[in-house]
């Protein structure tokens, strides 16, 4: 069965060229074309392509951010970055994607990259996804609703709270359910979030104070969030020391 490829680029001529080269590459079919980052994440959701040809520089959500979102999927597609010129980031592209291609792209280089993506096993793709997730955290959290994908800037997130099955993200504009596990979120956002309880991760930027109720249970208050959050006894002292609250 031929592999399905999604082309992501904000420039129409660049998409046009890639799709015509893809048609000549043989065993690949075009799954779709996305003109920006948000559309790309949405289309990967709906079309589940095997390979994504992803432009690095795009307006709004750029290619690197798209790759980080794709890396959180249970079965991430193989990402091949395309870029015109990025002196400093080339090495990162190599470890966080299956391959990168420099524009204008040569047909044989495209074929080689596609062939490489085709050869990779599911496990190897997961490995690339893990490398992507650990290299840098996303700048937005993707919420998939009925009306498609919404992106919440990470600095607007108060906290993540885990239920049995889902994770709730509380943010400036309300709350939403996401599929990411608390464990992977904690790893990804270790620099600006702190675990306060078995089931909660809070943004350190909003930490206000810690209080204790009559029963001796600690609660943390976040600036801008009405309800206080439970803090485990072990974390309470730690939080006080670390954040002087």
């Amino acid at each position: 069965m031929s592999l399905r490829v999604l082309i992501v680029d904000d420039e129409p001529p660049a998409r046009e060229r890639l799709s015509s080269m893809l048609a000549e590459a043989g065993d690949f079919v075009l799954a779709g074309e996305a003109g920006n980052g948000e559309q790309a994440i949405d289309m990967v959701d709906q079309l589940t392509p095997d390979i994504v040809l992803l432009d690095v520089r795009m307006p709004g959500i750029d290619g690197l951010e798209v790759a980080r979102h794709l890396a959180t999927l249970p079965a991430p597609p193989a990402v091949i970055f395309t870029t015109a010129f990025d002196e400093y980031a080339l090495q990162a592209f190599d470890s966080e994607a299956v391959a990168y291609l420099l524009k204008p792209i040569r047909a044989e280089k495209l074929r080689a990259a596609l062939a490489k993506a085709e050869r990779l096993s599911r496990a190897q793709l997961q490995q690339v996804a893990t490398a992507t997730r650990t290299a840098a955290h996303r700048s937005h959290i993707g919420v998939r609703g009925r009306d498609g994908l919404r992106l919440i800037p990470i600095e607007e997130v108060f906290c993540f709270q885990a239920d049995q099955k889902y994770t709730t993200v509380k943010h400036l504009k309300g709350e939403d359910l996401i599929e990411d596990s608390l464990k992977t979120l904690e790893e990804e956002f270790a620099t600006n979030f702190v675990r306060i309880h078995r089931n909660a991760l809070v943004n350190t930027k909003y930490l206000e104070r810690i209080a204790r109720d009559a029963s001796g249970q600690h609660f943390v208050h976040l600036r801008g969030l009405p309800d206080a959050l439970e803090v485990s006894r072990r974390m309470a002292g730690d939080l006080k020391d670390r954040f002087r609250i």
Binding site: P13, A14, R17, P59, G60, K103, P104
Partner: protein, 354 residues
């Protein structure tokens, strides 16, 4: 100076100029006369010559000084070409010798026709005048030399900055353009050909070292060529609204004045916005002053902020300043949701007017 045939050269180009002011020019001769009269007035006031009376003293002193100054200016004007070929030390020595000799001769003639009005001894009169001339000329030469060196340095720096600006074609622009052309070669060869020609024109504008000052029409052309290139890539996300019909097309501007502003406007204001944006270029011509305003929407705050390129703006400011002095102004800033750059400079069609 050897000008290239079509345009005046950029500052700092061509052979090294003589550090002395040009004594052939009418305005400089006028300044010399003014200085002589003021000096004569100063001397007459200070001396209070009872025997002659104030007005006669002033008249005679003026005549004496004007003779020296105008003869000196005429000699320096005639010898200008010759002096400019000599080293600084040699030309300075020659000018000193020349002025001292001139003053001594004029003093001798004055003494001879002095009608006994001068109470000084003959030799003492000549020696004092020669001494004064030597000191004044030496000081003046020093002053001319230092200011000339200073101006020369400023020009060299400006030239270096022009080169920095020229070398600054964004690699992204180059490779993206190449990619666009590669795509068009398949789908629309005629447009691909146009794009190659446009790209060649842009590079020529950027690489041409001889470009000093060019007609405004030509600079607008370069900016429009740049727009066409970006239009291929960005499609209908990029709109540029040109309102420049009222501008005089023959006004002189430093090369790469408008194009970098349009480039910045597109790079910061249109490209990072998913929905694109409109850049407005407005030109006004009023009371001999040209005003060009470039506006673009500011990037959305939540999106990735691009590295600024203040270099281009500072550079344009400097080069307009070098050409028009205080009469040129460059202002830039954010107003509400727009980033606005305003250039203002006088209308000229030749360097001499500037």
């Amino acid at each position: 100076m050897n000008h290239p045939p079509q345009y005046p050269a950029a500052p700092g180009e061509g052979p090294r100029q003589l550090y002395l002011p040009n004594f052939c020019s009418a305005s400089n001769v006028l300044i010399i006369i003014l200085i002589c009269e003021l000096t004569a007035l100063l001397l007459a006031l200070a001396r209070n010559e009872a025997a002659l009376g104030f007005w006669s003293d002033l008249g005679l002193t003026s005549m004496f000084l004007l003779w020296i100054a105008l003869c000196g200016a005429a000699l320096l004007c005639l010898l200008r070409d010759y002096l400019s070929r000599q080293s600084v030390a040699v030309s300075a020595a020659m000018v000193l010798t020349m002025t001292v000799t001139l003053v001594t001769v004029v003093s001798a003639v004055t003494y001879y026709f002095g009608f006994g009005l001068l109470q000084d001894q003959h030799w003492s009169f000549l020696a004092r005048n020669a001494g004064i001339t030597f000191v004044v000329t030496a000081l003046a030469l020093r002053y001319f030399y230092v200011t000339h060196e200073w101006r020369h340095n400023v020009e060299l720096q400006a030239k270096a900055r022009v080169h920095a600006l020229q070398a600054r074609i964004r690699p992204h622009f180059l490779f993206n353009s190449m990619n666009t052309i590669a795509a068009l070669t398949r789908s629309n060869p005629a447009r691909a050909e146009e794009a190659v020609l446009d790209l060649a024109e842009l590079f020529r504008a950027n690489l041409n070292e001889k470009r000093g000052q060019i007609p405004l029409a030509e600079e607008i052309d370069v900016a429009r060529t740049y727009q066409r290139m970006e239009q291929l890539r960005l499609g209908d996300r990029l709109r540029v609204d040109w309102k420049v019909d009222s501008l005089p097309t023959d006004a002189l501007v430093p090369g790469l004045t408008l194009q970098p502003l349009l480039e910045n406007a597109i790079y910061h204001g249109v490209e990072p916005r998913p929905g694109g944006g409109v850049v407005t270029v407005t030109g006004e011509f009023n009371k001999g002053m040209i005003t060009i305003v470039v506006r673009n929407p500011v990037p959305l705050p939540s999106l990735t902020v691009r590295d600024g390129n203040r270099l281009a703006l500072a550079n344009i400011k400097e080069r307009l300043g070098l050409m028009y002095g205080d009469r040129a102004t460059v202002k830039a800033g954010r107003f509400d949701e727009e980033y606005i750059v305003t250039l203002r400079f006088p209308f000229t069609t030749s360097v001499a007017d500037a």
